[in-house]
Symmetry: C2
Subunit: 233 residues, 2 copies
């Protein structure tokens, strides 16, 4: 296994804290936690509409701008252009989980580490610089003009790195992402993130089909290091 591919929103970064803080600053008086969760709930459905062909491919920021307006209406607030831009940009500076930067540095010693995210390369680059994530390769959705769980993203990354899908392990806190990755021949590691939704609503059981199940990235680094020290070769 040569390459580790990481989901970013939820797996290496804490979108709930980052986005609810930004909502609190940008839209005073709104229930920021509820607003952030309502926005995040609209994320996968609109990407799925792109992948189904119902909507043309657009960058994540453009899709998030659209869902943001729906959420603002739901919360009975009206956002001006500057507020909307600021909230959409906030996804670039959401904080990493406390273990993320250090965990990635350790995992990088023996593996090529890549972001494999529905964000664009530019968004993920800003996120990496903000958090000190030492990606070898930034796999943004604009490289393939497809969104996970589309085959083009997982296999596109393997192709870009000139390896077989089985030489890539997808690392995520969302079982649906891992199930898709496995269906295309990648290996999978589940990361527990019990606070992803601010402390509730998160199923961290993970499927027994995953190759690894870890409490965080440092735990994954320990497990991989143990496994590889006993493996032949």
């Amino acid at each position: 296994m040569k390459v580790l591919a990481f989901d970013t929103f939820g797996t290496v970064t804490d979108w709930f804290t980052g986005i609810s803080d930004s909502v609190r600053e940008t839209v005073p008086g709104v229930d920021a936690a509820s607003f952030a969760k309502d926005w995040r709930r609209r994320y996968s459905p609109i990407l799925a509409r792109v992948e189904s062909g119902e909507l043309p491919w657009r960058r994540l920021d453009d899709l998030q701008t659209e869902t943001l307006q729906e959420v603002a209406a739901l919360h009975d607030v009206s956002l001006d252009g500057a507020q909307a831009r600021s909230l959409v940009r906030a996804w670039r500076t959401i904080p990493g989980w406390p273990d993320a930067a250090d965990g990635l540095r350790r995992l990088k010693r023996d593996h090529i580490i890549c972001a494999l995210s529905n964000g664009t390369v530019a968004l993920l680059t800003d996120m990496a610089r903000h958090n000190g994530f030492p990606w070898d390769v930034v796999g943004g959705s604009d490289l393939w003009r497809h969104y996970k769980p589309a085959r083009e993203t997982y296999c596109g990354l393997a192709d870009l790195l000139e390896v077989e899908p089985a030489e890539v392990m997808m690392v995520a806190t969302h079982q649906s992402d891992l199930d898709a990755a496995r269906s295309f021949g990648l290996r999978t590691a589940f990361i527990e993130r019990p606070d992803e939704w601010g402390g509730d609503e998160k199923d961290d059981s993970g499927s027994p089909d995953n190759d690894y199940h870890a409490t965080d990235l440092l735990d994954l680094a320990r497990q991989l290091s143990r496994a590889e020290s006993v493996a032949p070769g």
Copy 2:
């Protein structure tokens, strides 16, 4: 200026030392320095044949495999498959110039730093890991299926980073690369590499049209830091 885009072969790495050492180990008895230079001379012409449409797009390794056979014939040696693969792969582990890794780290503090090279993403990733180059983004030719000096590479990188071409500065030791970048709206910085061809044959004068002219990457970092500390905003 937000983004610095670096040529790699010659500008951040010393292909002459890396390739002539590999030739010396892999093909004993051949004039390794001359072999390396003859191989490098065939690099730009075959890329130009791809860009002209005469050859279909292929990854750099495939093109280098072809030119390697020509050079082997010229030097009257026959290479088996393992030797050829080893020499083609040697481009992934050529050494950085002594200032490169440290210079890139300093330049990264205030700029997004990207490889913009005719190598593939996988090749450049191996080169970065071998030398400790801390790229934010690895701009390989396979992202655009075009080779410099094609417009698609320079403007493709700006587009990928969601900036205007004028917000990108191309950094290279080859004036032709900088001339092309400037023709597409990028800014340019020339880096002197007097030893690129093993101590001879290198014109390091640079055009007066370049925005910067530096003796190495540390010098460029000093010049940029000075310029930006006096610039308004």
